[in-house]
């Protein structure tokens, strides 16, 4: 369905070339759900933008490919997957244009990417509004974004993502801007729609709780590289990469004190050599600084980019 293969993304600017993503690979099978986790600045947004075909200015992809249904959507602009990939953005408050009616904003997407007449499209939208449980589906077409609550707007955007019958839905932390109750409802809705319609889902988040409830598998990114990947349950219960282990250990749900991983994610213009995590890693050895560790396959469909994944972490690893 969606295959990202050895993707490199760099952004050239006056201040130099920033390595945003390096050798990122993962695949989502038809009907599969994949979560992408990582701290801010790890390259999640750039990955999403590459898939959606809206790369920022100056972005280059010297290596790698993104295949959607076997077509390379990265280089072949004509085969662009717009319309075939639904997108649910992060902030429902800012993602709708305040001066256009909700219905018109979705109709514009369908006008370009869905077959059928305007009347067909309207009928389809009302049907989708009903599916996402938006109150008064017919009236909602003619309302402006500010006349909806945050949760309703996210429902609206989910409906928009489904408008052109996509095979894959890409969601960028779709619940971070919402309160906890609404968050739960939106996640339940998304999960139900994905299951009912047999959609594939790529879900970006930094919340492990959300991850566990929505995604079958997970890819952990650190500073633009894949640190670890595998089925969500197994990765969360038994993390292998020191970064994942520390990230999970400092999750507020799991530890009483609000500790964190010492140091910060390196700037994209000044990536350390070798393993990008080694300056912050409590079990780093001298050879970690020489060559980037390859992603090693483990049993159970897992893979980890750390040769020392069996070394236990010291007690005082978090600060």
């Amino acid at each position: 369905m969606l295959q990202v293969e050895g993707l490199d993304v760099q952004i050239r600017s006056e201040r130099g070339t920033a390595q945003i993503l390096q050798d990122v690979s993962f695949a989502i099978p038809r009907g599969g759900t994949m979560g992408i986790v990582g701290e801010s600045g790890c390259g999640k947004s750039t990955l999403l933008r590459s898939i959606l075909g809206i790369m920022p200015k100056g972005a280059e992809t010297p290596r790698g490919a993104i295949l959607f249904d076997g077509q390379d959507i990265l280089t072949d602009r004509a085969a662009s997957a717009r319309g075939r990939i639904g997108f649910v953005p992060q902030d429902p408050y800012l993602s709708l244009n305040p001066v256009f009616r909700a219905g018109d904003q979705i109709l514009e997407i369908m006008r370009r990417h869905a077959p059928g007449s305007r009347a067909d499209h309207k009928r389809k939208i009302v049907e989708l509004f009903r599916a996402v449980q938006l109150p008064d589906p017919e009236g909602a077409l003619r309302k402006y974004p500010h006349q909806f609550s945050g949760g309703q707007r996210q429902r609206l955007l989910i409906a928009a993502a489904l408008a052109c019958d996509p095979a894959l839905v890409v969601a960028d932390e779709p619940t971070t801007a919402l309160d906890v109750t609404t968050q739960r409802e939106i996640l339940a809705l998304l999960r139900r729609l994905v299951a009912e319609r047999g959609l594939s889902l790529l879900f970006v988040t930094h919340d492990f709780g959300v991850l566990a409830s929505v995604c079958e598998s997970v890819t952990v990114l650190y500073a633009g590289r894949v640190a670890e990947t595998g089925p969500t349950r197994q990765v969360l219960d038994d993390p292998r990469h020191p970064y994942t282990r520390m990230l999970l250990a400092c999750h507020p749900d799991r530890s009483a004190d609000l500790s964190g991983i010492p140091g910060t994610v390196p700037a994209a213009t000044a990536q350390p050599p070798g393993c990008r995590f080694h300056p912050r890693c409590p079990i780093a050895r001298p050879d970690c600084a020489t060559a980037p560790p390859p992603l090693v396959a483990l049993p159970g469909g897992r893979a980890v980019a750390c040769p020392h994944f069996e070394t236990p972490l010291p007690e005082n690893a978090l600060a």
Binding site: I54, R82, P89, S95, N97, P98, E108, R112, H146
Partner: protein
């Protein structure tokens, strides 16, 4: 929506009343004696006193102001000391000429300024952007009287394709008076030759007058579009697969244009004052030339009436601007509630 319009109109009333009061008091405290103008150089002190009493000029200023306001409210603007005719009648004849000119200029600056600003913004820091910047700085910096004379030299004298001055050709004449606007009256009368003649006469004055407004609108559109392009909803629209042209020309522009519309309202004041110079050069029989004549002859009744009429037009234009904004952005009318 209707109540919104009515409320805006009512809000304009106190401002206009204040304008009438203030301009009257100002006209009476500045040096210069209207009685002396009326009576002429050879008047005796006794004649002057008589005229003062006749026109109420010997009463306290505040009392005069109240009388003046009361007269204005009943539509009585007094008589011109220069021509002896009722001021209201004279203004009624000249206002349409000025309105035709200023609205033509406003129309030109809007339909040219918005696309130019949009083009500049989507080519941010590209050649088109620099060209538009050059044009708009030039448009603001150029003195209108100089530009007017240059246009006359090139298009009327050298090329001889546009009339030099006036509102209509003497041989063709004015269409029968309905609205006082040549372009509309000629169409109502079914006289296309008059319409064409009026249009040709309008070109040079309107082009001269529109330039500063065009520059302002282009610059505001450019910055509005640039600001809107940074918004999350634009990124979302691109991700969702909006077409590039439609995204910029409709989706982004509608957000950006709201700031521009505010500017258009403010511009109208500048247009009317700019019209004074342009009318003088092109011999355009509008309020501008009338006001100049009134100032030169200390015709204070005429001057007060011109100020008020311009104030009313300005207020109406700004109500229209408010309405346009509410139509463009539905949140505007709701916030005002």
């Amino acid at each position: 929506m209707l109540s919104y319009v009515v409320r805006r109109l009512l809000l304009a009333l106190p401002a206009l009343l204040g304008l009438v009061f203030l301009t009257f008091v100002l006209s009476r405290v500045i040096p210069g004696d209207p009685a002396a103008t009326l009576a002429g150089d050879a008047a005796t002190p006794a004649q002057l006193a008589e005229i003062r009493a006749q026109y109420g000029l010997d009463r306290p200023i505040l009392e005069q102001a109240v009388i003046h306001i009361r007269q204005v409210l009943t539509g009585d603007f007094g008589r011109s000391v220069f021509s002896g005719r009722p001021v209201a009648e004279e203004i009624g004849q000249r206002l349409p000429a000025t309105l035709e000119l200023t609205f033509a200029a406003l129309f030109l600056s809007t339909i040219l300024g918005i696309p130019l600003g949009l083009l500049a913004a989507v080519n941010h820091n590209g050649p088109v952007d620099h060209l538009v910047r050059l044009l708009s700085v030039g448009g603001l910096a150029m003195a209108s009287f100089w530009l007017a004379i240059m246009l006359q030299l090139v298009f009327s004298m050298d090329l001889d394709i546009l009339p030099l001055r006036g509102r209509v050709d003497v041989e063709i004449g004015m269409p029968p008076w309905r609205t006082g606007l040549v372009l509309i009256d000629s169409l109502l009368a079914g006289r296309l030759d008059m319409f064409w003649d009026g249009l040709l006469h309008l070109v040079l004055p309107a082009v001269t007058l529109c330039l500063p407004g065009l520059a302002t609108i282009a610059r505001f559109t450019r910055s509005g579009v640039l600001e809107t392009l940074q918004k999350d909803f634009v990124l979302y629209a691109r991700a969702a697969g909006y077409g590039r042209v439609r995204l910029n020309a409709i989706y982004v522009l509608r957000n950006a244009v709201n700031m521009v519309v505010t500017q258009i309202g403010l511009l109208f004041g500048a247009l009317i004052s700019g019209a004074v110079a342009v009318e003088a050069i092109f011999d355009w029989p509008g309020l501008g030339t009338y006001a100049v004549q009134a100032i030169l002859s200390a015709d204070y009744k005429a001057l007060l009436a011109v100020t008020l009429v311009v104030g009313v037009v300005y207020a109406v234009v700004n109500v229209l601007v408010d309405v346009a904004q509410a139509l463009i952005d539905p949140r505007v009318a709701e916030d005002a509630r």
